[in-house]
Amino acid sequence: MADVYTEEWFQAVRAAINAKVASLRDVPTASILIAVDIAGDAVSPYVEAGKERHFLVQIDDGHCSWYREGKPDETQELSFRFLGPAAAFDEVAAGLLDPIDAALRGTIRVRGDMRFLMRQADHVKALLDAYRTIETTWPRGGPPYLFEHEPLDA
């Protein structure tokens, strides 16, 4: 069990991704750097309201090489960027919000090349599933937040 957004949690995510990917027959042979920009929304206690936290995930040949907190616009060499309110990302991590639904509803915004997302749909789904399978602990209180606040897509 790892506290969300800690080094231990990043390692748990990494291990979960790599375990999921190991069962796939086909993974992309490429280096992919993903930024996750999480905006404080006065709902999640993990990002101060009005502030942002930035995370970077490096995927090499389908496997997660590292996952860490970064700085804003630390690099422009990104393949994808995910942006959204902290509560949404917390709820995805807690398995309460389906990330594909969140993207389709615009709650989590995605920037990058859809061709890759489409061609590597199984791999993308494996990454997203892995993210939701971590046993996460929430030291400052955790989701569900939806029941106490306006729905995220309102």
Binding site: A35, I100, R109, R111, G112, D113, M118
Partner: protein, 531 residues
Amino acid sequence: MRETYDAIIVGAGHNGLTLGAYLARSGLDTVVLERRHEEGGGLATEELTLSGFLHNVHANYHTFVDLAPPVRDLEIRRHGAEYVRPEVQMASVFDDGTALTIHDDLDRTVESMARFDEEDAETFRRLYIEAHGYVDLLLGTLMYQPPMSVKELTRALASFGVEDRSEFLSVKLRRESIDQFLDQHFKHPKIKAHLAFHAGICGYTTDVKGLAIGFPLLVGKIDNWHLCVGGSHRVAHALWRDLAQHGGTLISDAEVDHIVVDGNRAVGVRLSDGTELTARKLVASTVDVEQTFLRFLNPGDVPPELAERVRTAVKHKDWTLFSVHLAMTAPPAYEAASFDPDVDRAWVVNLGYGSPADLDEDWRLVRRGLLPEPHPNAAVNTLYDPTDAPAGRFTGLLRQFAPFVLAEGGEGEWDSIARWYGERCIRAWRRYAPNITDDVILDWVPYTPLEIARKIVNMVGGDWMMGEISLDNMLDQRPLPELSQYRTPIDALYLAGSTQHPHGFITFGPAYNALQVIADDLGLKPWWRRV
């Protein structure tokens, strides 16, 4: 004039200027060449009627301004382009004195629709909310990236289970028309008429099979129309400023006669006055593919099969626009305001299309080269931008769906009938806004499809989208599959204009996407946020 640059860009429309500014900021010695006396292409604002009245000759409607990366990257606002999003975006007025209004507030739009049909209004709410979500996803991952195929896109809908999560998106839409989509989800003809009209404004013909697949996206932007304060040309000027401030050069009255090729590599251009400019790294054309491949290049430089396909397989829109620009002492006061007062504040108004069938009848006439009984749409920019006319005065813009080639007399006939048809369009407006009398109209000028093609020569046949909007001319099929990825068979020659994905309109997309390809080819280190 210097003779050697790193990058030569043909055409100073918004795509040429955008690509030029990015390359200049990347440290490339860049020149943008423009045939006309000023930059901007479709971003032309002129005092067509009287002094002090600013008329957008071509591009009037700007959408998703803040999703377009160049608006941020090139600091367009800092350079003086300011946008407003009208509170009452669009409206339809109908023959029975009723009106439907589209607001920048979903609840108010739904309220307006509910006066016609409550169930349809709630369907619209669900469609809008759903579409609004994936509009962001699709624009963020599809529009500002080189294109994929429709097949891949629909396969992806299946693999991500989108159909199961969506009430409105479905793979079968790629075989259906917008009319069919409307019939499946809505009942009231006036609600369907407004949604169909809006699709027409977006360049989508409502009776064409396959275009239903794009319709939810059009709904997602139904309240996202912006007006550029002081005229659309301000955007062109802002782009030029950025280009200039980063060392780029714009040369107007510089008509390209020839793209010079050496050993299958584009190495420069020759202007019509004989001047030769050399490109160390690239030449990018932002004009139509016909000019690029059939006029600017020697026949021996173009693979014969490509030349043949450019001649025969490039698809253009089968309708264009006839416009009337007006200078007025008052804004329109619609009779339908007694039904819905907000109609008098609507930026753009559909005058009288009361059902999708009305529009379909006009598409049929236009395809046969016939002039429809005018149902123009009327825009009064001054309602939201008082700077576009002298104090207390107003500009007006009527736009009518029209053929380029007239069945009787061909396109040349437009010169003869422009005033006559313009008067009919004004009379059509007056039917719904009786105060637009001759006394109120200080001056007006028609602007015909033929004038579009004369002024902006790359809008072939008055094709303001620079390519048909159809399933087989979008994404990686546009303008031809072999030219869709911004590269050409000639090394160092790129395509970066509205012939390319995503399409026409002021999206900045073709230039932005071409930039990514050029950056990869030249090994440029992006200073801009690629994602």
